[in-house]
């Protein structure tokens, strides 16, 4: 009698997504959904979608969802969590949303120690709007708004958000992970799980920064994109844990 040993988690709706072939959003969505199911949190979760390629995330997660204005998801999540302290509230944001227009909101949500969980998808480019430079784009990286490559003297160095937030006491768990291979994927899932456990135990703010690819706007295949990320992004954005408090069992 055949049985299914791996399939779609309950927290992920059985619908096709609009993401490009090979886009890591799909993998990250599934990991978040698996964690919500494993923590038995799905039924009391409210997710906050942001503005970027994942703007339509509200159609993909099997939880109540709120669409937030660009950059404002941590503030929206704060409003929700203050009304539903026993709920599980997460934001799902890209690099422009969190590190450009939304820098104040993420810093202050972390500083306040808001009991929310943020999933930050860093692919060093603005995907949805067609490939413009992001605050996390690398020096010399060619984008549609840095056609000669990102210039250090004009645009500065890219922002390392996990390290930046690590100065804040309210941030109880900050980790940078990747989903480019199975080993990293397993670590990413463990980090996402810990980030939600930090919220559920009431400790404070948690964020997982997931290094990701954008094959379409980087102009490469999904397999080549993984390699580009490994060669170019990982040296600048080291994987690791930048803050970690222990969750009381």
């Amino acid at each position: 009698m055949a049985e299914k040993v791996f399939g779609r988690p309950d927290a992920l709706l059985d619908v096709p997504t609009h993401y490009c072939p090979g886009c890591h959003h799909g993998i990250i969505h599934r990991l978040v959904a698996e964690v919500l199911d494993e923590l038995k949190a799905t039924d009391r979760t409210v997710g906050v979608a942001s503005v970027g390629c994942s703007a339509l995330a509200y159609d993909y997660f099997n939880v109540d969802m709120v669409q937030a204005a660009h950059g404002r998801a941590p503030a929206v999540a704060t409003g929700i969590k203050r009304v539903l302290p026993d709920g599980v509230v997460f934001t799902y944001q890209g690099d422009g949303d969190i590190a450009a227009i939304g820098t104040a909101e993420i810093v202050h949500a972390a500083a306040r120690g808001e009991r929310i969980t943020t999933i930050f998808v860093n692919n060093a480019i603005y995907g949805m709007t067609g490939g413009q430079m992001a605050p996390t784009s690398l020096v010399n990286q060619v984008t549609t708004t840095s056609p000669y490559g990102r210039k250090l003297e004009s645009a500065g160095m890219p922002i390392k958000l996990s390290e930046l937030l690590a100065t804040l006491d309210g941030a109880k768990f900050l980790a940078r992970v990747a989903v480019n291979n199975p080993a990293n994927m397993a670590k990413a899932k463990a980090a996402i799980k810990k980030a939600f456990e930090i919220q559920i135990s009431g400790l404070g703010f948690a964020m997982v920064e997931v290094l990701s690819t954008c094959p379409t706007n980087w102009g490469v295949t999904p397999i080549e994109a993984n390699k580009w990320m490994e060669s170019n992004m990982m040296p600048y954005y080291p994987l690791g844990t930048f803050r970690s408090e222990e969750v009381a069992k």
Binding site: A75, K81, V88
Partner: protein
């Protein structure tokens, strides 16, 4: 509570919101409404509410958006420049049909402006301010008692219509102290089956959203909103008539300006001029019909505002060319005196109304 107590206007709004069942407030300090955020900081913990001083007015309106999505009665407040910051959030609230109360204690502008009272945010409040086709219900009190009463009504109206309600005050009303008593809220708790509370067994997730990439569906949604606004217009216009029955000249003024105008009108009446006032209490929906009706009977209208002339345009639209509409305004935070308003009434009465 039926005893009268002396309170500042800003604080009366705060207490009234608590009477109305508001337990979530998100705001940022700005003169001349900081007493309101400070009152909420003291009062909400006393009733197990949640107070957050946000990092900006933008963050505050987005916290309101989140709390309203989750089904709470929620309020924010600011003054003119801060209300400008909130406009994107207000448009999202309108598009998502979320109930909430937004208080603007107006000051002189434009730009950083002055900290004295103004009424130059009328366009922003009633015509948009944020992008897209939408309307906020806008209520304009003119006394501390009315600030309290209107605040309680605002929460009921917001829930009834799933709409933002803006309370348009000004720095004078916010700072003045008058006796006030707080009526019981007539609130019938409104079910919010659409709220994002967590599914808790519900099969279909609730989504609060204003994005729609298909233009035909976006248009359908706009029709839904416009239909709602038409029903609000038919049901919620509020105004007060003062000595209008035999009036030949009608003053139109709201907020603190209407209080000063009352003094001018009484002096004019004492000197034999038949003048009255229609005081709009709802600025949206605007009391167009009563103004249009009055246009049959009177000789002229004169509009007083603390602006370069904003509400006067709606008065002209309502009167629709039937009678002349004159205007007198002060800007920058200056309050008109009863004397200058009286002199304008006299001039209009003598056929020398000017503009």
């Amino acid at each position: 509570m039926s005893e009268k107590i002396l309170m500042k206007g800003n604080e009366a709004i705060g207490e009234a919101s608590v009477v109305a069942g508001c337990r979530h407030y998100f705001g940022y300090p700005i003169t001349p409404q900081s007493e309101l955020i400070e009152y909420m900081a003291r009062r909400l913990p006393q009733v197990n509410g949640e107070f957050v001083q946000a990092e900006s007015e933008i963050a505050a309106i987005n916290m309101v958006y989140g709390a309203a999505s989750a089904g709470a009665r929620v309020m924010t407040s600011s003054s003119s420049p801060g209300i400008s910051l909130k406009q994107e959030g207000i448009s999202y609230i309108a598009g998502s049909q979320l109930p909430c109360v937004i208080v603007n204690i107006q000051r002189g502008g434009p730009g950083l402006g002055s900290i004295q009272p103004g009424q130059a945010d009328y366009f922003q409040a009633t015509k948009g301010g944020g992008h897209g086709d939408y309307r906020n219900i806008v209520l304009a009190p003119n006394s501390v008692q009315e600030m309290a009463d209107i605040t309680i009504d605002a929460f009921d109206l917001a829930d009834k219509w799933r709409n933002a309600v803006m309370i348009l005050g000004d720095g004078a009303l916010g700072q003045m102290m008058e006796p006030v008593e707080f009526k019981e809220s007539t609130r019938i708790p409104v079910e919010k089956p659409w709220a994002t509370t967590g599914r808790h067994g519900r099969i279909k997730p609730n989504i609060v959203n204003s994005l729609n990439l298909q233009p035909d569906l976006m248009e359908k949604h706009n029709h839904v909103l416009q239909d709602k606004y038409a029903r609000i217009e038919a049901a919620e216009a509020r105004w007060e008539n003062l000595q209008t029955v035999d009036a030949e000249i009608i003053v139109v003024a709201y907020g603190i300006t209407s209080r000063i105008a009352t003094t001018a009108i009484n002096k004019a009446r004492a000197n034999g001029i038949k003048v009255g006032m229609l005081r709009p209490i709802s600025l949206w929906p605007f009391p167009s019909k009563p103004l249009s009706d009055l246009a049959q009977q009177v000789k002229a209208f004169v509009v007083f505002e603390m602006s370069a002339g904003q509400m006067v345009e709606d008065v002209r639209l309502s009167v629709n060319g039937k009678r002349p509409v004159f205007f007198h305004g002060r800007t920058g935070g200056m309050l008109p005196t009863p004397k200058e308003l009286y002199e304008k009434i006299v001039a209009v009465s003598n056929g020398e109304g000017g503009k």
